[in-house]
């Protein structure tokens, strides 16, 4: 993971927004699925998990700890994607609405 010579500080920033899946959309007009980024519908307590060991919490409909959308993806799957990018996960913070992965490099 060491980087010999000058290190490039300026980052590449990729931001991808997905539309809700058909299953998340309202069955009737006027009823909203409530899964948008910025929604406060998933009020899970913030927890920190350092190093390895964040377990996959699958969807439990109606449950308090239900994770939605991309947050349901297991850490190992993101790690596989990050291998392509050449980054490793150092730690993870889970917030009410967003998960934050701190990476090497």
């Amino acid at each position: 993971l060491s980087s010999p010579g000058p290190f490039e500080g300026p980052e590449k920033l990729l931001e991808v927004w997905f539309a809700p899946s058909p299953e998340e959309l309202p069955l009737s007009q006027g009823h909203d699925a409530g899964n948008g980024a910025g929604s406060s519908s998933s009020a899970t307590a913030a927890t920190t998990v350092n190093g390895s060991g964040r377990s996959y919490r699958g969807p439990t409909p109606g449950g308090q700890g239900e994770l939605k959308g991309l947050r349901r993806v297991p850490r190992e799957v993101w790690e596989e994607m990050l291998d392509i990018v050449k980054c490793k996960v150092l730690s993870v913070v889970e917030g009410e609405e967003i998960d934050a992965y701190l990476l090497s490099e």
């Binding site: 010999p4 927004w17 809700p20 991309l70 990050l82 990018v85 913070v93 992965y101």
Partner: protein, 333 residues
């Protein structure tokens, strides 16, 4: 580097010689396989000009290659921009507003679209002062060997997370947003990264700024190519509260921590796309967006950072679905 994952949003911010864009194909696959998300609503890719472009690999060797890569995924409907002075600190942006796989594309409801309202602040700082760089070096007695902008410490007596915590506390980074859940790391022999998630707010949070968000910081402190970045999407009040600073106060605080000699500031404010929002909701979102943009334009005034800095540029862009305010400053002398 950092990865942020929200139900319908993924942000990947990577430095060094990482292959950021090469992860995009897999991201799209993962979203489809695990979440049934088959439609990309919008995609942004941006970066500042590299210090060492010759060291980059893959599509990152050249801005044209990066745009070509994105065009290969989204088609040629995207737009690419160069913002700021080309001979100094220009900033590059490519964005695509589209729905991939349109045949199965559902209609996004108006309420969901309102929740996608987004304001993102980015402060990119370079030429940090010696005092601004010093806290980001591992203490000599703890440092392992090595050069470069930071590896994961294995020989240091202080763990990376503990070092990060100390730096965050010493510099007041842990107080930028009181109550934020902060995760930081100090690298060996130098460098620092931090992620923070900010809650939706307790009773004392002003009702005018509901919603949480994140902020992230990355620092490469070595002389000659020192650099620090701060990015944040936490909704900010018009006037600072005990919980949250206003826009000007936040920028001033960040600049005082990292002490750059040069910096650029960008603020993105989402607006209703001309093709996507019914009139009834557009007025609500437009009002919020234009207020944020006007506030940013005013906040990026020549006196934002006091008499020590001179503002070199202030530029406003209106895109379809987003407005951007860009400004860059240099320290006098």
């Amino acid at each position: 580097s950092s990865l942020f994952v929200a139900p319908h949003l993924l942000i990947l911010k990577t430095c060094g010689t990482t292959l950021n864009l090469l992860g995009l194909h897999r991201i799209i696959e993962i979203a489809r396989e695990y979440c049934g998300l088959t439609n990309i609503w919008r995609c942004f890719y941006s970066r500042k000009s590299f210090f060492f472009p010759d060291r980059q690999q893959g599509p990152h060797k050249d801005w044209r290659d990066e745009v070509k890569f994105l065009d290969g995924i989204f088609g040629t409907a995207g737009s690419a921009y160069t913002v700021g002075p080309m001979n100094r600190d220009h900033w590059l942006l490519s964005f695509n507003l589209s729905l991939l796989h349109v045949p199965s594309s559902p209609t996004i409801s108006s309420k969901t679209r309102l929740r996608y309202h987004d304001t993102t602040l980015e402060i990119l700082m370079s030429h940090l002062s010696p005092a601004g760089r010093a806290p980001f070096f591992l203490p000599e007695e703890s440092s392992g060997s090595g050069v470069g902008g930071g590896s994961v410490a294995s020989s240091s007596s202080v763990g990376g997370h503990e070092l990060g915590r100390r730096i965050s506390s010493e510099l007041g980074i842990d107080g930028i947003f009181p109550g934020a859940k902060l995760d930081s790391f100090g690298f060996d022999p130098c460098g620092y990264s931090a992620n923070a998630v900010v809650g939706t707010g307790g009773p004392s949070t002003s009702p005018e700024v509901p919603g949480g968000g994140y902020f992230t910081i990355h620092v490469t402190p070595e002389e000659g190519w020192s650099y620090a970045s701060f990015e944040c999407n936490v909704p900010l009040p018009n006037k600072s509260t005990d919980d949250r600073p206003d826009l000007s106060s936040l920028i001033q605080n960040v600049v005082s921590i990292f002490q750059p000699n040069r910096l650029s500031i960008t603020l993105f404010v989402s607006t209703p796309s001309s093709a996507s929002v019914p009139n009834g909701d557009a007025s609500t979102v437009l009002t919020a967006a234009s207020e944020a943009e006007n506030q940013a334009w005013r906040s990026f005034g020549a006196d934002l950072l006091g008499a020590d800095f001179v503002r070199k540029d202030r530029i406003g862009y209106e895109f379809d679905g987003y407005d951007l305010v860009f400004a860059c400053f240099e320290k006098r002398g």
